[in-house]
Amino acid sequence: MYLLDEVLKNKIKGLYFGNRIILPFKAHFLKVVIEDDIITDFSISSRGIYIREKEEFTDVYFHDYKNLKSVVSKYEAIKILLVEKGKNIFDEKNLRKIAVYLGENHEITIEESEANILFVK
């Protein structure tokens, strides 16, 4: 498993298959924007999203979409507001805005979104 900064600095890629993305780090999720869906409910009863933490990665399932590639264009990002696991969730400085782009061969590119695209907290 990597730290988020390592992922961003070394451009380590994640994966996606169907409606699932696999992120190579662990985090507390606060907000996810996919298409025009703004998801803030990450409880077990949430119908839109399911997050499963594994030893080496984090699985994110988007239940409202069968195939992410068919709805998220190559210029569009899935945007995630998160705090890396192990860091103080109550310290605003630890809030990170991440943009996830779906690429070829099931790979996802993970970038910090602040500088490039619009993502409102």
């Binding site: 298409e35 703004i38 619009l118 409102v120």
Partner: protein, 470 residues
Amino acid sequence: MLTKKILPILFFILIQCSMIFAVPENVHAAPDSVNTAVELQHALPTPWMVIPFVLLLLMIATGPIFYKHFWHHHYPKVAIVLGIITAVYYLAILQDTHSLMHTLAEYISFIALLASLFVASGGILIKVDKKATPMLNVLFLLFGAVISNFIGTTGASMLLIRPFMRINKHRIKPYHIIFFIFIVSNVGGALTPIGDPPLFLGFLRGVPFFWVIANVWYIWLPALLMVLAVFFVVDSMNKSGADDKSEFTGKIEFKGFRNVVYLGVIIISVFLDPGILSWVPSLSPLPFGIREIIMMSVVFLSYKQADESILKANEFDFDPIKEVAYLFIGIFLTMIPALQLIAYEARVFSNLLNQGTFYWSTGILSSFLDNAPTYLNFLSAAMGKFGLDINVKADVIHFETVDQVYLRAISVAAVFFGAMTYIGNGPNFMVKSISERAGIEMPSFFAYMIKYSIPILIPVFTLIWWIFFH
């Protein structure tokens, strides 16, 4: 997915078949394309046929709140099926292919303009590196209002919504977007026929190009200033981002000049209508013309040639325009009976209508129906009071000299009231969609009206009525 592709094709085939087999009585009865009351007397729909339109409006309003999952996946089918119900009624019961073909032509024209402006502006990146303040926002919105008269409310909205969100990224709230819709996407565009489609239709009918600015600016200005003043007060109370320590260079970055040229092409092509320029060939009976072909070519070229880094920065995606395309095919079709009944009633009761009732009727109906045909129907009714015919260009020119207050009331109301709902004007929905993709939780259809448009706009529009049309 298959249903999405097949339904529009079935609908088009249905219309084409009916053109061959149906007896087009109404076509003979109505040589002109405008749905005036005169032609409607031949085939008025039953008021029950307003139900699909009301149903669609209710579903647009309630779907994203109460049955989001169903709506998200099935809204294209809902819109198309309700539209087909109306289409079948017109084909099988009224045997009126004219109204459907006219609506199809209007829809293609509408979506070609929106799509071309959406795609061309998606390849332009404007970054304003200044600290957001209420005054800067007011100036920005004022600029948007003015520019909407040159590139249309849709063009201005698509071009400026992202930079507006970027400036305010540390303090943005839904009200920023809503005031943007009020000012740039609607009220601003009341000065020229390019600004908003109803004024353009008036221009096509014979209203002189500069009549609008000469006769409406002194209504436009106070209305705009009042809305801006409310915005300034609301924005001044927003203290979010006050502790933001970011440094600003004050620079304005502009990328994508090629797409600016494409925007110019779209604006020029708006005038490529056989009704304006006699040398422009008509492609009748096809439901589109040279203008729409140019616009769709711009969609293709401006997307293919756009800088990828700009598309990525703008997070370009066709979904907002697809959403508008699906919802509005349903709206355009299901509103045919409503518009025809209103046209008929307006004509019948035209002698009882004064400038105030023209203002409110045009306005309230433009909030929910397409404001372009609403404008024409009430213009037709107003001209009827003086024994003038909207289909005769000389009569329209004469009308604006006889009694300008009616034309002023109808023009102002058709444009201003488009801001009352998300569906009042084409760009409203797209601005909402773009904002949601940036993570801004926009109010629902009802919340938009109850929290914002009714309490803010209705007092302003009432004051406008009191001063100018009472």
